[in-house]
Symmetry: C2
Subunit: 530 residues, 2 copies
């Protein structure tokens, strides 16, 4: 057989073997995050399961959102580990809401920063404990190795999955918006601070000079948090179980594929990378019929329609005085209101308002009677509002929620009320009325909806294609630059520019000295002759 024959045979065999492997489903190890992050990871898992893949999910012993084995996955529970849960999260969030309500002063900003930093430290401590627990459990690690997964699917808001993928030598795919050190793009794509607003800064992509200064300061704060609070915790785990040459930040940046939970209908346009795939709104789907009692309530709204209100998974209770104000405002409206609310029933609640523990949010947002969505600004809810073209009144509580809402405000689809303004001067009622009565809000959200839906492939299908692509090719090295391995001064060509500037200076000095030398020689000769 000529050499090419061998090659072709080998190649054909590999293709057939790979096809067989993928047709019969791959094996995926999922390392998710808690809370609302799990909600959308679960959607991906269900879709992967329905395509014949086998899924194992790593979770903490005291998990909050991640239920035990389901028809779609098996769990690998790490003994003796905590996770984010309401008892852990809610007191911190309540303190943060309290601080925010005091208004924006340097003191409240500093208090918020300290509270936020503490939360970050604690969160990453939990993650480090979890991954340490796994690495120390030889039996667990051996059994994971023996299962021969095809890839690790990870939400990198914590670093557990990143180090696990390295230990198991597996391709790594992110379901990501946040990484351990901030917004995901910051780690992988060039991010000029002149038009890329930092999370928490409350800035858009069009900034004045003073706003650009604020943005730069926020960047320094983020960077400092990463360098001093986050990175060292994970690096310590790397040092212990791998070697000091293995940099945690390199592992983080070296993922094969980044499935980003945004699209550019929502996010400001910005530089990106070939291995970043946008799947914003992958959880959205057409509305299904409502349960009979809800449909009856919705229909009873007549031509005025319905307002929805939900503050997301993390905060089920707002401060009592605020809920009272909100309930009173709703009571003055001709619309019907469905409010996801878990606390005491506010005394000022009107007959037009239905309190619910849970609501089929997507189906309600897609109902033609729905006129407005009062939201806290979590990405899941906002993407659903974009998908269904429903305008928003935003009540951001903490984290990225203001920044998320700002993206819709800038496109004319949302109005934002900060926490310290909600219960003053009928602000809440006025905001609702403005968004209901000014047609541009709805028009803009429907324009965003038409842009968002106009894609060659559905975002979920795109995500599934690329996850399977990484399985088929055992990674996606051709899409990934390794520029992050360069030291910062080389990456930014500081060394080259200094060298060239030095060379130019040297040439100029040589010319100057030569001319001076020549000149003085001529002068001397002239003096001798004279």
């Amino acid at each position: 057989m000529p050499p090419h024959g061998n090659v072709t045979f080998l190649l054909l065999f590999s293709i057939v073997f790979l096809s067989w492997r993928i047709c019969h489903g791959g094996k995926i190890l999922v390392v998710p995050a808690e809370g609302s992050h799990w909600v959308n990871m679960d959607i991906l898992i269900k879709a992967l399961h329905s395509r014949g893949h086998y899924v194992d999910v790593v979770r903490a012993n005291k998990s909050w959102y991640i239920k035990d084995d389901s028809p779609h996955y098996k769990t690998i529970t790490v003994p003796g580990t905590d996770a984010f849960n309401p008892d852990f999260v809610n007191p911190i969030l309540k303190r943060m809401i309290d601080i925010e309500r005091r208004g924006s002063s340097l003191l409240s900003f500093a208090s918020l920063l300290v509270e936020f930093s503490n939360t970050m430290i604690n969160m990453h401590r939990i993650m480090c404990k979890m991954v340490t627990g796994m690495f120390e459990d030889k039996d667990l690690m051996n059994s994971l190795k023996e299962r021969e997964y095809d890839l690790v699917l990870n939400d990198p808001v914590g670093g557990t999955g990143i180090m696990l993928a390295h230990a198991l030598k597996l391709p790594l795919v992110y379901n990501v918006r946040w990484i351990t050190s901030g917004e995901g793009h910051l780690a992988i794509a060039p991010s000029p601070l002149s038009y890329i607003p930092m999370t928490g800064s409350g800035l858009s992509d069009k900034m004045t000079f003073m706003q650009r200064i604020t943005n730069q300061i926020f960047y320094v704060i983020w960077k400092a948090q990463d360098v001093f609070l986050v990175d060292p915790q994970y690096q310590a785990v790397c040092d212990k179980f791998f070697s000091p040459e293995v940099r945690y930040s390199d592992l983080l940046k070296g993922a094969d594929l980044w499935l980003m939970r945004v699209d550019f209908v929502f996010e400001f346009p910005r530089p990106t990378m070939p291995n970043v795939v946008y799947m914003g709104g992958f959880q959205c789907k057409p509305a299904e019929p409502l349960p009979a009692h809800l449909e009856e309530f919705v229909q009873s709204s007549g031509e005025h329609g319905v307002i929805l209100m939900s503050m997301g998974t993390f905060v089920s209770e707002l401060p009592a005085d605020m809920t009272k104000e909100i309930a009173a405002a709703f009571a003055k409206l001709p619309q019907k209101v469905i409010w996801r609310h878990k606390g005491d029933r506010p005394a000022s609640l009107g007959n037009n308002t239905l309190l619910v523990d849970w609501m089929p949010q997507n189906d309600l947002l897609g109902h033609q009677k729905t006129k407005l969505f009062v939201a806290h600004g979590g990405t899941n809810g906002l993407q659903e509002a974009i998908y269904h073209g429903v305008p928003i009144v935003g009540l951001p509580l903490f984290s990225d929620q203001y920044d998320n809402l700002l993206r819709l405000k800038e496109r004319g689809g949302a109005k934002i009320l900060t926490l310290n303004a909600v219960d003053k001067d009928d602000n809440f009622l006025k905001a609702i009325q403005e968004v209901l009565n000014e047609p541009s809000y709805r028009m803009n959200m429907q324009r965003l909806s038409s842009l968002h839906r106009d894609t060659p492939m559905k975002p979920l299908d795109t995500a599934l294609f690329w996850i399977e692509f990484v399985m088929r090719h055992k990674g996606a090295a051709h899409l990934r630059t390794e520029s992050y391995r360069l030291p910062w001064y080389s990456y930014h060509s500081v060394d080259v520019v200094l060298f060239l500037a030095g060379a130019v200076l040297l040439v100029l000095c040589t010319i100057f000295l030569s001319i001076r030398c020549l000149y003085s020689t001529i002068c001397k000769r002239k003096a001798k002759r004279d």
Copy 2:
């Protein structure tokens, strides 16, 4: 009717009208470039026509490749204008080949640079004359306005279409790899010179310190050519017909969509932007059966198979001594050779070699008997070789050809012979034998082929989707940053960093002076007391 009713009606009407417009086909004004660039624009035009769109093509009076009206398009011929044609191009190219054959010295590099700059100046002069001719012809411009095109589809290697789109206030879509000032990405995406090699530098994405210095120097040369030779020509046209506030470089960067003629199987991974869509290899398709005489010739090669050789559309003739050497090398091989060659029949030609004026390159590359492709390194040919998984011996002549071939060499699919080495020491024969006998070349090209073909949509369908997307939404503003409108010092945050550094210095100085003041006061008091 309530306000929302009005909005919904307006929106529905717009959607119905747009759908009707698109279903019945849009109107596209194509401003192409000459030579091989036209070959792939023509493929896009045919595909657009087959989807029911009406296409007009702007061409020069003395056009080379762009034929008069076809079943797929009508031409708008601009009177009194030249275009690139063999008489214009070939003498320059022959001079450039002569210089290259002398080997790489500083003198030959400088001569090449001068020759290349002259070519650029002349090329852009032709384009400027063409667009000036159009703008001065009021009847032509009025008729173009009256036709109400949906968009301009342009190859921005020249600036004609860019200014035409601005004058007609139309969305602008590029079919692009090169812009008037270099590789397309340089104008739109951040391009750190530490790992993005400049065209002509012959560097890859992994560079030593000295190579990074070379790369920086190449960047300065490119930038200088743009600033001093290219931009002023087009800016003069802008000044004359628009206003000095309209910057040509802003118009160039402001296109709605960039359909890039590469993909990341071919191109090194690098930062990109949301409005850049990769359609590399959109011209590739499965091989069709060969004409009977060619099939017979190919089959006569037996187990040894066939070698193809083509030097592209621009250079049909190689220097006589070189063709003699190449023919003699081919004669020593057991393979059959099909050589696209237009000059005199070399005396050393063997019986195994068939000279042809033209060949069905795609069908031959896709034939199972084809073992190797001797190519000049034009993108079209290389993309076809990737698609069919055929290894390459590259003979780069000029322009980007060496850099293109380098991308395949780095992936182990090609061997490159520079012009000054072809006819020495049996180099050509040895290169052919190496690529034929070393299985890794074929294996690597087949791996690239499988990566290239593994996409959720065919590149041509992707391109068509996005062209129609721009028609449906009258642009793609949400995918485009307007950061290029910032002055360079703001874009790179130089002003912000200087301001903050100044502020920190001021604070430090104030503290220092206060301490000194305090210290001297204390000292004085002490002295008084003493």
